[in-house]
């Protein structure tokens, strides 16, 4: 496996936009106009497209782009026991998702993401992240009819997702990302999020990552550092760099995945802007512990926009790495 850069390695959060061809195919598939194999063929083609793009852009740690997923919650809910999928619920603007309904005891029915992980990893010598949505978020993003409390539901998701993590590790994943975008919502439930994560990562040797977004981080910082993962990936460009003030007082003790481009805006950040963001954060988190990536999944952008945003991420990180070298810092890239 190709090693990642020693300082400021680049990565991305998870999703990339689906090419038009695949979008059309997904619609046609739901209407029963094409077969599952045809859809899978196009999903694989799109996955390969994004793997190659990430290689071209020299991204250190790559993702499969989630070409096979509709969204972050439904995909997992569809593949475990005890869950039903509801009708569409709007999240913002014109975006909707099918919110899961937990109607019975949650049960692991077999690995959900492993086949896709193996496929993506088979395409490249760069490490691919195994990833799935975390237990706290799965609980928070579902209607819970069966369990009496949110805690019970989160811990039940944790048991199921631990099996998924173990299966990914057995399949060779060196990096496992457990997305928890919802943990920023209820600071009073951080302990629950931490306990649920403990169950998921128990006994794993792979490097673990969690991604968190859309939140009032100041309310969960530094508590968030208790989440038992190696790296916390934060959306930091959309919400400004307010968190730095807090890092001044309470050092960020883990690896930080630093979001440097806004995924909800068509506007492309300039390389200088991004370099400045990286340098600003380097005052608080050393370059060896700093990963550079977009704020969140890029799936809401167009294919071209996503590529350009990734290019800025990659080039800005490379240039700051060069600056470090000039200053005499050993920094292979």
């Amino acid at each position: 496996m190709r090693p990642v850069s020693e300082c400021l390695p680049t990565t991305s959060v998870g999703s990339f936009p689906k090419p038009e061809e695949l979008k059309t195919a997904r619609t046609r598939f739901t209407r029963g106009q094409i077969k599952k194999d045809e859809l899978t063929r196009l999903e694989k083609k799109a996955t390969e497209f994004w793997i190659r793009k990430q290689e071209e852009l020299d991204i250190d740690l790559v993702v499969d782009g989630e070409m096979y997923r509709g969204d972050m919650a439904t995909y997992f809910a569809e593949n475990v026991g005890g869950c039903e999928i509801s009708g569409l619920v709007r999240s913002y603007g014109n975006r909707y998702y099918k919110k899961p309904i937990v109607t019975g005891p949650l049960k692991f029915k077999g690995a959900i993401t492993v086949e896709w992980f193996k496929f993506a990893q088979g395409l490249t010598d760069r490490p691919v992240i195994g990833m799935f949505t975390g237990p706290y978020t799965m609980m928070d993003w579902s209607f819970i009819e069966y369990y009496k409390t949110r805690e019970e539901a989160a811990m039940a998701w944790a048991e199921v997702l631990h099996e998924e993590a173990a299966a990914l590790e057995r399949a060779g994943a060196q990096y496992i990302q457990i997305d928890e975008p919802a943990v920023s919502v209820r600071p009073e439930e951080m302990d629950l999020a931490v306990r649920a994560m403990e169950v998921v990562v128990e006994g794993l040797k792979a490097k673990t990552i969690t991604h968190i977004c859309y939140g009032a981080f100041e309310k969960i910082y530094p508590k968030v550092l208790e989440i038992p993962v190696d790296r916390i990936d934060l959306e930091m460009s959309n919400s400004g760099l307010d968190l730095l003030e807090h890092m001044k007082r309470n050092p960020f003790t883990k690896e930080l995945g630093l979001g440097v481009v806004d995924v909800h805006s068509h506007k492309l950040e300039s390389k200088d802007e991004v370099k400045k963001r990286i340098r600003d954060v380097m005052k608080y988190v050393p370059a060896e512990r700093l990963w550079v990536d977009p704020d969140c999944g890029l799936k809401t952008r167009t294919v071209d926009e996503a590529i350009e945003k990734m290019r800025v991420v990659s080039e800005a990180a490379r240039e700051v790495r060069k600056e470090l070298k000039v200053k005499g810092k050993v920094c292979r890239s």
Binding site: L88, R90, K98
Partner: protein, 322 residues
């Protein structure tokens, strides 16, 4: 006792017409045209019809035009930009945060037109709904006033313009949602000033509704602020029975959120009847309106329909028993 709603209705009616129209507009480079207006109207009519068919006594326009709970009441105003996405309380719903960079001013009232359209298309009485100045200020960023009170009052004055326009359009009932007060009850005085400014000279019945938090934090002092109708979500309030037993409710009007709009599970007869009984502890039956606890957009359409039917049926059963 009357049944009603406290917010919007799922927008995916009419086979997702609105969603598809917005996609189309996005594909064509973002030019809104007659198609969008047509879709909004068609879906609004449909949302009203569904509420009526469910048997509600008082309906809303379904808030089909509302992008979210914060920016929807700001459509007629100037002085702000809409920026990053922020989560609305502990929901899975996001809104674009308004950032005020210039004086807030009401240019053209926006809510009255929706209200008039709804009245024209409804057989039942329609109530208007808006978000209150305190909540809007708390959800926004102030880069102009640099003063909490001026900030709230600026929104309050602009919203008063909206309220007056609604009254001119004939609105008899205007519900004002102030959920953020429950997250910042220590700022009650600021809230009170905002509401007073908004309510100045009101002719319609103003109803203050509270959800997304514990109503007991502002009770009973809230009862002095609003002389018309006060409402809250019984599900998120601590000890709602005790709140409703308070004598301060004697002779007052209540809007009770008795159906959980954020969970798909249908309320049982025992649960709902228990809540209705609690609500009638001190409030007279003719002064009670019962509704789901929040915007119905949190539910998938089929569950929303089932919940409204359940609300109407169980309320009728209850009336018969009592």
């Amino acid at each position: 006792m009357k049944t009603t709603v406290v917010g919007g209705y799922p927008k995916i009616l009419e086979d997702q017409l609105l969603r598809k129209t917005l996609w189309e507009i996005d594909r064509e480079g973002g030019k809104a045209n007659g198609k969008l207006e047509e879709a909004v109207q068609k879906v609004t009519r449909s949302a009203i019809r569904e509420q009526e068919e469910a048997g509600l006594d008082i309906v809303s326009d379904g808030a089909i035009r509302w992008e979210d709970e914060i920016t929807a009441s700001l459509r007629g105003m100037e002085g702000m930009e809409f920026t990053g996405l922020i989560r609305y309380f502990d929901t899975n719903v996001l809104y674009r945060q308004p950032v005020v960079t210039r004086p807030v001013k009401l240019k053209i009232p926006a809510l009255a037109a929706d209200y008039s359209f709804a009245v024209k298309n409804a057989k039942r009485p329609v109530k208007a709904i808006m978000t209150g100045p305190f909540t809007i200020a708390k959800a926004s960023r102030d880069e102009y006033y640099q003063n909490g009170e001026k900030f709230v009052l600026a929104f309050a004055e602009a919203l008063r313009g909206e309220r007056e326009a609604l009254e001119r359009a004939g609105a008899k009932k205007i519900q004002i949602n102030e959920p953020f007060l429950l997250s910042a009850p220590e700022e009650f005085e600021l809230f009170r000033k905002g509401f007073r400014t908004l309510a100045e000279g009101a002719r319609a019945e103003l109803e203050l509704f509270f959800s997304f938090g514990d109503f007991s934090k502002v009770f009973p002092k809230i009862m002095d602020v609003c002389v018309w109708r006060v409402g809250f979500d019984l599900g998120t309030a601590r000890n709602p029975e005790r709140i409703l037993k308070d004598k301060v409710w004697k002779g007052r009007k209540l809007l009770a959120g008795v159906i959980d709009a954020r969970n798909t599970r249908l309320e049982t007869k025992e649960e709902l009847h228990g809540r209705l009984k609690a609500a009638l502890a001190c409030v007279a039956s003719q002064d009670l309106e019962v509704a789901p606890s929040a915007n119905l957009e949190f539910l998938p359409l089929d569950r929303c329909r089932a919940k409204l039917k359940n609300l109407v049926k169980l309320t009728r059963d209850f009336k018969e028993v009592v």
